[in-house]
Amino acid sequence: MSADRILVVDDEPQIQRFLRPALTAAGYDVIEARTGAEAVKAAATAAPDVIILDLGLPDMDGKDVVAKLRGWSTVPIIILSARDRESEKVAALDLGADDYIEKPFGIGELTARIRTALRHRLRADAQTERVCVDGLEIDTLRRLVARDGEPVRLTPKEYDLLVLLARHAGRVVTHRTLLTSIWGPAHGDDLHYLRVFIGQLRQKIERDPARPAIIRTEPGVGYRFADEL
């Protein structure tokens, strides 16, 4: 099996300068792009397996790059962003980016995100039927949820929410995505629904609901279902 190919889109030469040797050493093929236009072209011609995309590009907005790519490609996109660009990051995720990582970041964190993204790409074909995390079992065929073997009773909405998060295990799911897929497009901004239902879910499935380990909060962005504990 040949190495996975990663397209790094960033206009800062310094970033490219350390990412290339690091990702190469981690076992990936690295291709570089410095502008949005180059990125779209490289995505079309070089068929990368994951794209790492900086939001601030000289020629176009990173969000536009996401929108363009999502027109024809499902390749996982990981956003590189800064904390002061919160809203841009959420917008990019809502446009179809898969995950994000905040600058400055460690290489371990980045490679973990890349691995999650790659695994999901493989899983996209076969629907997950069983998820097993930290003693929590979800059986989507029989619609059963159990905590350490004990069945957990969930309302239909709670169940839908849990399954949606579990299907994206390891990746962040934005508030808007959760709200629109479970409550419908009209409720995209009704954050309080989520707060209530996530709270109830945690009471039922977490070992210590005060310190949730399975459903983690990404402040200002959404929730992330624990991938591996």
Binding site: R17, P21, A26
Partner: protein, 896 residues
């Protein structure tokens, strides 16, 4: 002005609730009403006060007149009394009620006896009821006493009944607004008994009238009035109660009165009668002054109308002015609009024959005023016919001119007539004289016309009627012809002069309209508030010929904002009056009821936003008449609106500027955070890569990562140093040393340092021989040069950079020139601004945007200047030119 708090129509009534809301926070007024002096008002008031105090109410005696009666004085014993204020008036000490002490003391209830009395000169208000009004406004309950004869609307009735003219009068509104009226009643027989026993105190002046006044008939009449007023008040209270609680009933009286007044003497009586009628009917009433639209009012008329309006407003009426040619239809329109039910007009006794010639207003109203009740108020005696008064009274100079014109025109007519008579036998030579009369009338008005008519008659007689050259007339038919001539001349002259008067009135109006129009145009061209104020005061000065000032609040304090003449000076009294006008939204100052000692009359300027300020006109003995007052208000309104507009414009500009600076700040912040974060990200990323994946990398990769870390750390430290330098410059803590430095040395060091950072940049240096030393800080200058070279390296596009050092007159000049793309002409100064960068389209630039502004800060700290020139060479390049002064002994200090 609202008629009263209690409107009496049958609509569901918000007025009462509104009045109540307005009352909220105000003190309550209790009036002890009596029919005559001596009924025991003060006694009743004080004994009630004693009871209240026993119940723990905070009650203070402001003024109580015991008139030396022991039993009353006894009541004062247990009560706290406010000390009187000593005022100096014409050399003697006068005691007065101390309003300010009362306001400071702020009791729950204060007793201020004798509502109708006047204050001595020098007090804040001329009348005591104004003091009480202020106490109420301050939220203090007031108890006061009043004799019925002092009520404004009753003064003429009282005068008729008793034959005593009451001088001290109180507006009816004061009693109407009283929250409680306590009637202190004593049957007339008992009162007379008390009087006989000497128990009734009377002022010296009244003693003479004592027999006239204290007659049983009078006292009964006065008592009836007092009882009726109290009953009215009780009725008002009940109606208010019903309305407030939305109880339906027969209480609604839908009467509304319109009262027509003019400048004649009868009108005052009309107003007083109407006021009694209105209060009897519990009806709101509007006083309307009728003015002929086609004629300028006689001189005294506006002042009389103003006085009438003031009286009417005191009595609780609303006031309007109507200028029309057809009074009846205008009145009918107003009546329909206001839902009036009755019209009150004054009628003079007229000779019967006059009504055949012209119908009176009353007749016409009776004929056309369908559905309206018409009240006629008749005058006591006929005023002199107004034929003469209708014309303007000319002054002396105008009189002289009239005489001159009359004489000269008649003389000319005589000469021509004699000349013509010599040449041809003209039968009606008198027409020539008629012409001279008409000419005089048109040129100089009715005085000249009258004079010319007489003179013409005489001249005609003298020169053309047999026997000639005497004033004797021989034949009887000539006498007849002579009188016909005089009659015709007078008539023609009268008509012509009237045409002249009308033209004059039209002209005056046109001038007023024109000046308002000009003012409006001036205002529309000014966008700034101060220009608006300036235009307003100069307009007011031009229109009224008086000094004009405008005061506006600034930080809560009223200050002079504009004045014409510009050196106007306001003293303490003026400022107090101005503040009063501003706070109370009432006219104050000279010729008003408040602070008449002030040299100015202040009027509040209101806009939809509230009171903007006050406008003051210097008092010069002439009050502002009706027409001028309308102009004055028009000017003030326009000014207020223009100021509003100017303020809105200023606010929106400030808003836009703030928005822009907010955007700028956001861009700045994001750019700083980017500059800090990129090196940090690189370092973090490289370090974690080395730690976690280092063993899987080749040695070159590891080396490269380490080099990256080193470079980025240097970049970060440069940026932080720049930020710190900038902070030092901004904070003013930059302390440049004044050492002797060798510029050549400093330049060399900077170039060497630069070569370490930008190895690919070529720098050519040339220095003039025998450079003098300069005073400065070598570290700062080195940093400046480094920053300039750093910039050059970014923009030089691979071309070499030149540094030239030379002397120029008394300065050392250092030029750093690159061959890059240059700077656009309009950015040449902006490049020295903080965080200014020229770079990539996304707003990011390779640099920090601080280099040049730090350079400028350092250079200026060393007493030098820095300037950018572009293009430097042909159409490319930038030249940065530093100039430092050569110290006096700089040349000698140079090393040889």
């Amino acid at each position: 002005m609202a008629s009263s708090g209690t409107s009496k129509d049958n609509r569901p009534d918000p007025d009462v609730l509104l009045a109540e809301a307005r009352q909220h926070g105000r003190g309550r007024l209790t009036v002890f009403l009596g029919a005559a002096p001596g009924v025991g008002k003060t006694y009743a008031m004080l004994s009630r006060a004693g009871k209240l105090q026993a119940n723990g109410v905070d009650i203070v005696v402001g003024v109580a007149e015991t008139h030396g009666r022991a039993e009353t004085a006894q009541l004062l014993d247990g009560l706290e009394a406010l000390p009187r204020k000593q005022l100096e008036y014409r050399g003697r000490q006068v005691e007065a009620f101390d309003l300010d002490a009362a306001l400071t003391r702020r009791p729950h209830v204060i007793i201020v006896d004798e509502l109708a009395s006047s204050n001595p000169e020098g007090a804040r208000h001329p009348k005591r009821f104004q003091d009480i009004e202020e106490l109420l406004a301050a939220g203090i309950d007031v108890w006061t006493a009043l004799n019925i004869q002092h009520l404004e609307s009753l003064s003429d009735v009282v005068a008729e009944i008793t034959g005593v003219r009451v001088r001290e009068r109180v507006p009816d509104t004061v009693l109407q607004r009283a929250d409680e009226v306590v009637l202190v009643d004593l049957p007339p027989a008992e009162l007379i008994e008390r009087l006989k026993q000497g128990k009734v105190y009377l002022p010296e002046s009244a003693k003479r009238a004592i027999d006239q006044f204290f007659r049983p008939g009078n006292l009964t009449a006065l008592r009836e009035m007092a009882l009726r007023r109290t009953a009215d008040h009780v009725d008002d209270d009940m109606v208010d109660y019903l309305k407030r609680h939305a109880i339906e009933g027969a209480w609604a009286s839908a009467e509304r009165l319109i009262v027509c007044v003019g400048p004649d003497a009868l009108s005052e009586k009309v107003v007083r009668t109407a006021s009694r009628l209105a209060s009897g009917l519990n009806a709101p009433w509007i006083v309307v002054s009728l003015e002929r639209a086609d004629r300028e009012p006689a001189d005294a008329a506006p002042a009389r109308i103003d006085a009438l309006f003031k009286l009417a407003e005191r009595l609780g009426a609303e006031t309007r002015r109507i200028a029309a040619t057809d009074f009846v239809s205008e009145l009918m329109k107003l009546a329909r609009r206001e839902h009036a039910t009755q019209i009150v007009i004054g009628v003079h006794v007229r000779p019967r024959w006059l009504s055949w010639v012209r119908a009176s207003l009353a007749d016409e109203l009776a004929a056309r005023g369908a559905g309206l009740g018409v009240h006629l108020v008749t005058g006591d005696q006929e005023e002199p016919p107004s034929f003469v008064r209708r014309f303007r009274r000319p002054d002396r100079r105008e009189n002289l001119r009239s005489v001159m014109i009359a004489f000269s025109s008649v003389a000319a007519a005589s000469l021509i007539a004699i000349g013509v008579d010599r040449a041809i036998d003209l039968p009606n030579v008198s027409l020539l004289f008629l012409m001279s009369v008409v000419f005089s009338a048109i040129r100089a008005g009715y005085v000249a016309a009258f004079l010319a008519a007489i003179l013409s008659g005489l001249a005609y007689n003298f020169f053309f009627i047999q026997p000639l050259e005497t004033f004797v007339i021989a034949s009887p038919h000539e006498v007849f012809a002579f009188f016909i001539f005089i009659g015709a001349a007078l008539l023609a002259g009268g008509l012509a002069s009237r045409v002249r008067e009308q033209a004059r009135a039209a002209r005056a109006r046109a001038v007023a309209v024109q000046s308002l129009y000009d003012f409006a145009r001036k205002l529309s061209g000014t966008a700034k508030a101060e220009n608006v104020l300036w235009a307003a005061v100069s307009q007011l000065h031009e229109t009224f010929g008086k000094a004009a000032v405008i005061l506006m609040p600034q930080d809560g304090e009223l200050v002079l904002a504009s004045a014409w003449p510009p050196d106007a000076d306001l003293d303490v009294t003026d400022m107090t009056a101005a503040r009063w006008a501003f706070e109370r939204k009432e006219t104050a100052g000279s010729d008003t009821g408040t602070l008449p000692a002030s040299g100015y009359q202040f009027r509040p300027m209101t806009s939809p936003q509230g009171v903007l300020g006050v406008c003051g006109l210097k008092w010069d003995g002439r009050s502002v008449d009706g027409v001028s007052e309308r102009i004055l208000y028009a000017v003030m309104d326009q000014t207020a609106i223009a100021i509003d507009r100017a303020r809105l414009a200023e606010e929106s500009i400030a808003q836009a500027a703030k928005l822009q600076s907010d955007n700028l700040r956001a861009a700045l912040l994001s750019s700083i955070s980017h500059d800090l974060r990129t090196p940090l990200s690189t370092i973090t990323g490289a370090v974690t890569s080395l730690r976690q994946l280092g063993d899987r990398m080749g040695p070159e990769s590891r080396n490269d990562l380490l080099a990256t870390i080193e470079e980025e750390s240097a970049r970060l430290s440069r940026f932080v140093a720049n930020l710190l330098d900038m902070t030092r410059i901004e904070a003013g803590t930059l302390d440049a040393r004044k050492d002797w430095i060798d510029v050549g040395d400093v330049v060399r060091a900077a170039v060497e340092r630069c070569a370490r950072y930008f190895p690919e940049l070529a720098v050519e240096t040339s220095a003039a021989p025998e450079l003098p030393l300069m005073r400065g800080d070598s570290v700062l200058l080195g940093q400046v040069l480094f920053n300039l070279l750093d910039n050059a390296a970014k923009y030089a596009a691979g071309e070499p950079v030149r540094i030239d050092i030379r002397t120029d007159e008394r300065e050392i000049v250092i030029c750093v020139t690159d061959m890059g793309r240059g700077i656009p002409a309009n950015d040449l100064d902006a490049v020295f601004g903080k965080f200014f960068r020229r770079g990539k389209p996304d707003g990011r630039a390779p640099g920090t945007g601080l280099g040049l502004s730090i350079a400028r800060g350092f250079v200026e700290a060393m007493g030098g200047t820095i300037r950018a020139e572009s293009p430097a060479f042909r159409r490319k390049g930038t030249r940065m030119m530093l100039r430092f002064p050569i110290p006096e002994n700089g040349k000698e200090a140079a090393p040889q």
